[in-house]
């Protein structure tokens, strides 16, 4: 960075990238200014006299660290550094060296912000690592934001959900400080936290007019009644994320009531705690009410269930638009998806098994006329069926993410031929997704003639078990 000659203090030079027009403006302004000292000198000293609006504008392009350096240049620049406009947004990063590789926001900076800028803060997030200390530090800061009128608050775990390790009362009291003082919270992201029904009541009591977005997936202390309270009172709610156990017919009806705005996005996580867990069903009429009220809303569902837990799902029409199966899902369930998800836009299947999904895919192509994105992991589909699927969907498929292993060559298409066929129907060049072959030459090839088995010497080495495998 350049050093300033003259000017008030020696320090780090001005940031790069100031627009050339500013120079001209500065020069004209400087010559008009009443302060005579240095006005007709080398232009370098004019940097100190940049009008504050311009400085502010420039500072907004700088990352915080550079801005902090710039603030050391002189009183004027220092003043600009502390202008409220620059302190509306802040992301506190709280990491412990023992648990994270990332640096943390400097504690002195945090102190300064709380002291000088807490009443400027409007959009705040906390990023914490796996350690409980980080989550507790976040709560401590939250507790001190009494002069804050936040519009946005995000509590984000970057690794293991550490907010869950904080003593519940500590967390709740910290959160309540924000709820009570802000009164105009618009977006709230509190996934994986110990938030509970009473604190949601406090949220609602103070922010019901302004709340538009609420993300609270995996908050085990909230009950269906707790979230219902939110839906009943916060009529401006447009985005909601929660776990399936909180979903109820009443909730959907509340979100579709006349007083309620159109919902834009509903995200539901269906997670199995124990194998064989039972899940309740949602009535078709409740979903229908949602669709009637908010015809364009997106329903995003993430399933993390054992294969035999899907009984209550997809037996009737459900307006899901984005569907993710994070674990193995059966052929049968995918068949039901084809029949009952007419609004489906994206389907991602992590794993299925070793029986081809030919029929199921064709059915999905036929009935899910909005489908534009599909991802298949450990599944199997015959090449012919896959080509048929792509043909039926045509160019609406903007995302086709198929692992190479999924496609089984048959008598019509080999793997090399298939990518041309598919590209043809998609109208763009397409290849399957690949995994690197980590180990060259290790695969045993499928052979129609059994080759002579050779007893390898190491089969009888110390520790080798000879049961089963030859």
């Amino acid at each position: 960075m350049k050093r300033i000659k003259g000017g008030e203090e020696d320090g780090h030079g001005p940031p790069s990238g100031s627009p050339p027009e500013a120079c001209k403006k500065v020069r004209t302004q400087a010559s008009e200014e009443s302060e005579a000292a240095g006005a007709s000198d080398a232009p370098v000293s004019d940097w100190a006299r940049l009008p504050q609006e311009l400085l502010l504008h420039i500072f907004q392009y700088l990352p915080l660290l550079d801005r902090a350096y710039a603030s050391q240049v002189g009183r004027r620049w220092n003043q600009t550094f502390h202008m409220p406009e620059l302190w509306r947004c802040f992301e506190f990063e709280l990491n412990q060296p023992a648990s994270s590789y990332l640096k943390a926001t400097h504690p002195d900076l945090i102190k300064q912000i709380i002291k000088r800028h807490s009443n400027h803060l409007q959009y705040v997030s906390f990023k914490v690592d796996s350690s409980t200390e980080s989550a507790e530090a976040a709560c401590d800061i939250l507790s001190q934001l009494v002069n804050c009128s936040l519009k946005t608050l995000g509590l984000i775990s970057t690794a293991r959900p550490s907010f869950m390790e904080v003593p519940k009362s500590h967390f709740i009291s910290a959160l309540t400080v924000v709820f009570v003082n802000s009164k105009s919270l618009s977006s709230l992201k509190i996934d994986d936290t110990p938030v509970d029904d009473p604190s949601l009541k406090v949220l609602v009591a103070n922010n019901s007019d302004t709340l538009k977005l609420l993300k609270m997936s995996s908050c085990p202390h909230v009950s269906p009644a707790g979230i219902l309270c939110v839906a009943d009172q916060c009529h401006g709610l447009r985005e909601l994320a929660l776990n399936y156990h909180l979903l109820s017919d009443e909730l959907l009806l509340a979100l579709s009531s006349e007083k309620h705005v159109h919902l834009e996005h509903l995200r539901i996580d269906v997670v199995s705690e124990n194998p064989g867990q039972h899940f309740h069903t949602i009535k078709r009429s409740s979903w229908d009410a949602m669709v009637r009220h908010s015809p364009k809303f997106n329903l995003v569902m993430y399933f993390f269930l054992y294969e035999d837990e899907f009984g209550p799902f997809f037996n009737e029409e459900v307006p899901v638009t984005h569907l993710y199966f994070g674990r193995s899902v059966s052929k049968e369930v995918l068949g039901r998806v084809g029949l009952h998800c007419p609004r489906l836009v994206e389907l991602v299947v992590c794993a299925n098994g070793l029986r081809p999904l030919d029929e199921e895919l064709i059915r999905i192509a036929k009935h899910c006329t909005q489908l534009s994105a599909i991802g298949l992991g450990e599944c199997e589909v015959s090449c012919s069926a896959f080509v048929e699927f792509v043909k039926m969907c045509g160019r609406r498929l903007s995302q086709l993410s198929i692992m190479e292993e999924v496609l089984i060559p048959d008598n019509k298409y080999s793997l090399d031929e298939i990518h041309w066929e598919v590209s043809k129907h998609l109208g763009r060049v397409w290849f399957p997704d690949m995994m690197p072959t980590w180990v060259p030459f290790c695969d045993q090839w499928r052979s129609s003639i059994p080759w002579k088995k050779q007893a390898a010497p190491w089969l009888h080495q110390k520790g080798a078990c000879t049961s089963g495998l030859t």
């Binding site: 947004c89 648990s99 590789y101 640096k103 997030s125 997936s217 995302q399 793997l415 290849f431 030459f441």
Partner: protein, 530 residues
Amino acid sequence: ECSSPPADALMQELCRFLLQCLEDLDASLRKLNSRLFVIRGQPTDVFPRIFKEWQTTCLSYEYDSEPFGKERDAAIQKLASEAGVEVMVRTAHTLYNLDRIIELNVGQSPLTYKRFQALVNRMDAVELPAETITAEVVQKCATPLSEDHDDKFAVPSLEELGFETEGLTTAVWPGGETEALMRLERHLERKAWVANFERPRMNANSLLASPTGLSPYLRFGCLSCRLFYFKLTDLYRKVKKNSTPPLSLYGQLLWREFFYTTATNNPCFDKMEGNPICVQIPWDQNPEALAKWAEGQTGFPWIDAIMTQLRQEGWIHHLARHAVACFLTRDLWVSWEEGMKVFEELLIDADWSVNAGSWMWLSCSSFFQQFFHCYCPVGFGRRTDPNGDFIRRYLPVLRGFPAKYIYDPWNAPEEVQKAAKCIVGVHYPRPMVNHAESSRVNIERMKQIYQQFSSYRGLGLLAAVPANPNSVANDGVLNSGTSRGPGGSSEGLFTYTASFPTEKGNSTQKRRREEDISLRSSTKSWRQSN
């Protein structure tokens, strides 16, 4: 019986392999009235002395594309030029001259395998491997052998390197070019019986070390990748009656080539920090979890059996590598660098470029991977080997479990565990994570990270790989960290994934920028849903 041998045993295996390679080379040279000279010491000390003593006029060696290799070789070249010695360097460890591939890609290493394939298609044909040295080739050349050759220049023995050789069993992987070539022939013989060159189907047998396995020989240079390339081509032409082989035939060779190409100009290739092609992911520092994984004590038999095989034999199948790499980085959220180091220590065929590249790939840290796919530590194993024989072989404590429960013994009723004489929590560890929960958390974290890149914003989990990942075009939309635009902060944010226009409270900005340059997405932001 099946106790875990100490890591020293594997180091011994590795050294033994290397020494056997050298002995084999020496034996082959002896047939031509020559010998191998093994010189001990640092190259920078040894070479000046040798150049003088032997009156060297020409030094030749195989080009090493890895960054440290290049640095070392540059130092040696300098020494050679100072001593007036001509230097001849040839590409042999890779199919192509990697710099030409990079040149073809406007001076940058390709960042996706597809792009790499497209470049390779445009390259000139692979050069033939050098002929083997025969008596005709040697002709009048003579090796100045002294009587005390064996004292001064012999291949060191295992004892000299400090290993115990008492009770040593036959090597799992016998080293040397002779062995490599024999295996190559056998490997191709089997291929010849397969009429269609189909993709192999995984089965229980695939998981075991194959008698025709070639990967360590490739790593140590006993087997030329070009030799394999041409033998494969010949075989294909024979079987398919002279048709042109598709690029996919060489798939396995090309993956290796791809990683070498991406690594060659990047000394930070094996790290996250400072690595321009690596996504900065906030991995957990969790030495306890790492140890359990490395020692095969996760409580997931599929993972533990694989890690046990790795410890005992120094080799695991590539899909087994995927499974354990996925488990470490996705279920345990431990950095891929840690896993890479363990593999480096334990794998007999790990090389720097392929190991680091594969770990980055598996952890979704680079190469524009879709991150939705996550191998299940129960299901994947079960689908590969339904009977569980692989588990029983390497974890004999679980031998008594029926196939139904062998992949998730913690779900087995008490009677079954008693009958198997193995109580979970006592004789075998409980599962260290709940996979449903860890995959849920994982997909959230991945989404969080990838939302920084505009092509991943939106509702979906799938994202558009940029049309040209190498273009340095600034799409300006990428970095959600800086507050851009007039007025600083923008009003209420209703992007569907609620990205906050927040200010980064520390100096990670710089790191982000580096990512942005290499991970530029296309100018189309992904908003396909509506």
